[in-house]
């Protein structure tokens, strides 16, 4: 599970390129040559879209913005400055990347529907701007002196070969990123952005990298498209159909894989070219109808795309994850998670005057709290006492109205969750947040990224974290299909993999049977033995009395009492008001 996968995709990419190139070499008809080149343009465009939307799940309806900017840049730079496309296309890529950054910074504040809609507006706004600027039709000037220096060839096959070079480059790039930190971080974002953030993934930074990369590829291929087509109009490069085509090609073939966009382009582009050539005179618009029908059919019949559908059929088992042995992977020893001792007796976490209200509800009210280094602290209180809100404040999901949080002497009050994670606070969730489509091992690897820059180290740390919670046997299983106990352990391992000094466990025993609770407690004690400070939320005391050294009781957002289990269980106000009368009898 944790070793590097041997990659046979590289070989397949070569086979594909050789076959396509060979086919192109024998095509004499210049129209077919053009179609073959355009197929590759759209394959790369689909790959560009996939780099952002396929992996991160943030659907872009606006990739035409990058494509169009690239196309216009190459043409206008050649007209205005005599810049050759050999230079213009790489610069178009830079421009596309910059555009991605400019678009991404404001737009990533939006999620879901809003993101998709906002992305739609960018190319449409640009379309009208380019029309207004008077570029209704920009034509690449012919360079009869030195055509090759300006990427102008009499033989259309050369465009196919160039397109093939682009495609192979985009495929190799995608493939390299897919199994790396990039791919796993984006997949984690796609499945649960909140959990990714808590696991130390800087979600905004990853999304920005993704849109810049995606925009750069789209910009460059837009520039190449202009060279192939010779004429650029606002509608042909900024139009909705451009964005739609990128999306359809990737979705049709299958997202989140290097092959999907290629399959999509190889199928749909020739089909629409054929329809356009045969029927456009009689039935204009038939091309759009075919695309629309293809989209509808894919969403209803094979929402995962042709590649995944075919793979499922071939493997006869859905979502099969190969059971790989753990023994092959290097493993960091468990003491890798040992927290180095610090000088002095200062509390690891100091909270002063922390307050948060939602509308009229004071969820957390002027809370003071010291967490001692190395202790196991229980926070209890009835439902609605503000326990989870307190955790959300501590790990940065919500911003406090007032107050201060100091971790190891450093104020972390308004830091983002991923930064707080990197500074040593890990957490689990009341309702488990697994990355369902990823294996247990991959879930934990994402957590390990917070601690190390090296992907190999991340694997080793994840391996050790999985072993530390006793899940080694199951590391290859998909998180979508494991038991509640395993999910709890997996979240614990994911938090552990970021090498935290302080772990926040939110109702980690919820829904577990008595024996399962005992097993989990053994694991938690083992972690405490490594010097990790642990804070657990529960609303009952029963399991906690055996585990924790100290309790803090919350009610209506405020601290009601604090002390050892013995003190708290005998505290009359606590017993009667917050734990119910039956505890009076037990105590």
């Amino acid at each position: 599970m944790f070793e590097r996968h041997r990659d046979r995709h590289g070989l397949w990419i070569l086979v594909f390129a050789a076959a396509y190139g060979l086919l192109a070499a024998f095509v004499e008809n210049s129209y077919y040559q053009l179609v073959m080149a355009v197929v590759l343009v759209w394959a790369v465009m689909g790959l560009a879209w996939n780099l952002l939307s396929g992996y991160s799940g943030l659907i872009s309806f606006g990739h035409a913005a990058f494509f169009g900017l690239g196309a216009y840049f190459v043409v206008l730079a050649q007209i205005g400055w005599g810049l050759s496309p050999w230079l213009g296309i790489p610069l178009a890529g830079v421009l596309g990347g910059l555009a991605g950054l400019i678009v991404g910074v404001p737009t990533f504040r939006l999620r879901g529907h809003y993101f998709a809609l906002a992305m739609l507006a960018y190319p449409l706004a640009l379309l009208y701007v380019f029309e207004w600027l008077g570029y209704q039709e920009a034509t690449v000037p012919m360079m009869r002196e030195a055509p090759a220096a300006y990427m102008q060839f009499a033989d259309g096959r050369l465009y196919v070969f160039l397109g093939l070079a682009f495609t192979v480059a985009a495929m190799v790039l995608t493939r390299a990123l897919e199994r790396s930190r990039y791919g796993l971080s984006l997949l984690a974002i796609k499945q649960d952005e909140t959990a990714a953030e808590a696991a130390g993934v800087d979600t905004l930074a990853w999304k920005l990298r993704a849109i810049m990369l995606s925009g750069a590829v789209a910009g460059a291929i837009g520039g190449f498209y202009a060279v192939v087509q010779l004429v650029v109009t606002p509608l042909s490069v900024f139009g909705v159909l451009v964005s739609a085509q990128a999306l359809v090609i990737a979705m049709f073939g299958g997202v989140g894989t290097v092959w999907g966009p290629v399959i999509g382009a190889l199928t749909l582009v020739p089909l629409s070219a054929f329809l356009d050539a045969e029927l456009a005179a009689i039935l204009p618009g038939v091309q759009g109808v075919v695309y629309g029908v293809a989209i509808i059919a894919v969403v209803i019949l094979a929402p995962e795309g042709v590649f995944w559908k075919a793979k499922d059929l071939l493997e006869r088992r859905r979502m099969r994850v190969p059971a790989e042995s753990l023994a092959a992977a290097p493993e960091s020893p468990p003491h890798a998670f040992k927290v180095p001792p610090r000088e002095g007796n200062a509390p690891i976490l100091q909270v002063r005057g922390l307050s948060k209200s939602f509308g009229g509800l004071q969820a957390v009210d002027n809370v003071d709290l010291d967490v001692r280094r190395g202790e196991i602290l229980g926070i209890i209180g009835p439902n609605g006492a503000g326990k989870t809100t307190l955790f959300n404040l501590l790990n940065g999901f919500i911003a406090a109205d007032a107050g201060q949080i100091v971790l190891n002497g450093e104020t972390v009050t308004r830091k983002s969750p991923n930064k707080i994670c990197r500074r040593g606070i890990g957490r689990t969730f009341q309702v488990v947040k697994p990355f369902r489509r990823m294996s247990i091992g991959d879930n934990v690897i994402v957590g390990a990224y917070a601690h190390t820059q090296s992907d190999d180290d991340a694997r080793a740390i994840a391996h050790a974290a999985v072993a530390a919670v006793g899940l080694s046997e199951d590391a290859g299983r998909l998180a979508g299909g494991i038991s509640n106990k395993q999910l709890r352990l997996m979240e614990l391992a994911r938090a552990l993999a970021s090498k935290p000094e302080l772990l926040l466990l939110d109702e980690i025993f919820a829904g577990l049977s008595g024996t399962e609770v005992d097993e989990l407690m053994v694991v938690i004690r083992r972690l405490a033995g490594l010097g990790i400070t642990i804070v657990i939320i529960e609303h009952t005391m029963r399991a906690m009395v055996q585990l924790v050294e100290r309790f803090v009781v919350l009610d209506h957002g405020a601290v009601l009492a604090a002390g050892t289990p013995q003190e708290i269980t005998r505290h009359p106000a606590v017993i009667e008001a917050y734990l119910g009368k039956k505890w009076l009898a037990d105590a």
Partner: protein, 319 residues
């Protein structure tokens, strides 16, 4: 220009903005019903509007000459006829396609469910727009009523200097638009059907337990949504030439309005649409014509970036 001319210009565009805005408001209400009840973003809304325009156009062409005062009454009658026609189309398409990716089964949506809806309706939009091109041809048409070139003249005001021209056709269209919005608002507030729709919108699970056929409620909401937008399209058809690709421009206009008013709120959607109409027309005061739509897009982007819950919406809690 003298100051009085500036004022005249401003008032002229303000009037035009209010009149088009009322129709935009109606279209936005249609879109908002679909989002409010089904939580589905319907990308094909602009194409349903376009079909409404063509239904009105053909209804007018074939029946106009046989109706008393046909040139004056038939355009508005045609717009109202477009409503039920597109309602039926919407119900059929919902049953055949949209319900497969929405409905009660997808109320506990993961993000992938959302995307299936978005993408399905994007596909529908492509089929309808390009199918429209095949069926209706690409030449722009419009419904010719003598009213759309006859203004009422207000004034002269302010010492003979200001003359305001109010287009009669557009004014009647705007009045009908407001009437339809009010009628639909009453339907939602008072009727049994309205209660069922609101219940299904509020909590589909609970509505099912209360014996409400939520899938039917969704189907009807989808039909109402596209039908109402189609009436808006029909009303616009007498002042705005159109062709099968017109939908995509308006889908942004509609989303801008709906987002401005806060996704899901009917009255918010109407005033959002009205505001967008004003922005579009008033931008003509300082922007070239071609950039009017860019002004809307920029306005749209600003709204969703600054206040994703809408100007009139309440701020929602995150995380």
């Amino acid at each position: 220009m003298s100051p009085a001319q500036h004022v005249e210009n401003f008032l002229q565009f303000l009037t035009a903005g209010l009149l088009t805005g009322a129709i935009y408001g109606l279209m936005c209400v249609g879109l908002s019903i679909i989002f409010g009840v089904m939580r589905v973003i319907n990308f094909a809304q602009g194409e349903f509007m376009m079909i409404g325009m063509y239904v009105a156009f053909y209804f007018f062409a074939f029946t106009g000459p046989y109706i008393v005062l046909g040139d004056f009454i038939a355009p508005y009658l045609a717009a109202l006829v477009a409503g039920p026609a597109v309602f039926l189309l919407g119900v059929l398409l919902h049953k055949a396609l949209v319900s497969r990716v929405t409905g009660i089964g997808s109320t506990v949506l993961d993000s992938e469910g959302h995307y299936a809806q978005l993408i399905l309706t994007l596909g529908l939009s492509l089929v309808l727009a390009n199918g429209g091109l095949v069926v209706f041809g690409s030449a722009p048409v419009s419904i010719a009523t003598p009213l759309s070139s006859t203004p009422w003249v207000v004034g002269p005001l302010y010492g003979e200097e200001i003359l305001l021209f109010v287009n009669q056709g557009q004014t009647i269209a705007a009045v009908i638009a407001v009437a339809v919005v009010v009628a639909f608002g009453l339907l939602m507030a008072r009727s049994r059907l309205g209660r069922a729709l609101r219940a299904a919108a509020d909590n589909p699970q609970a509505a099912v337990y209360m014996g409400i056929d939520v899938d039917r409620a969704y189907r009807i909401a989808f039909g109402f949504g596209v039908g109402i937008t189609a009436i808006g399209g029909g009303l616009l058809a007498s002042s705005h030439p159109f062709q099968p690709y017109i939908g995509i421009e308006f889908v942004i206009v509609m989303y801008a309005g709906v987002v401005l008013g806060g996704l899901g709120s009917l009255s918010g959607a109407f005033f959002g649409g009205l505001t967008i109409g004003l922005v579009q027309q008033l931008s003509a005061l300082f922007l070239p014509n071609q950039l009017q739509n860019t002004a809307i897009f920029v306005c749209f982007l600003l709204i969703i970036l600054i206040r994703p819950d809408g100007l009139f919406g309440r701020a929602t809690r995150r995380a």
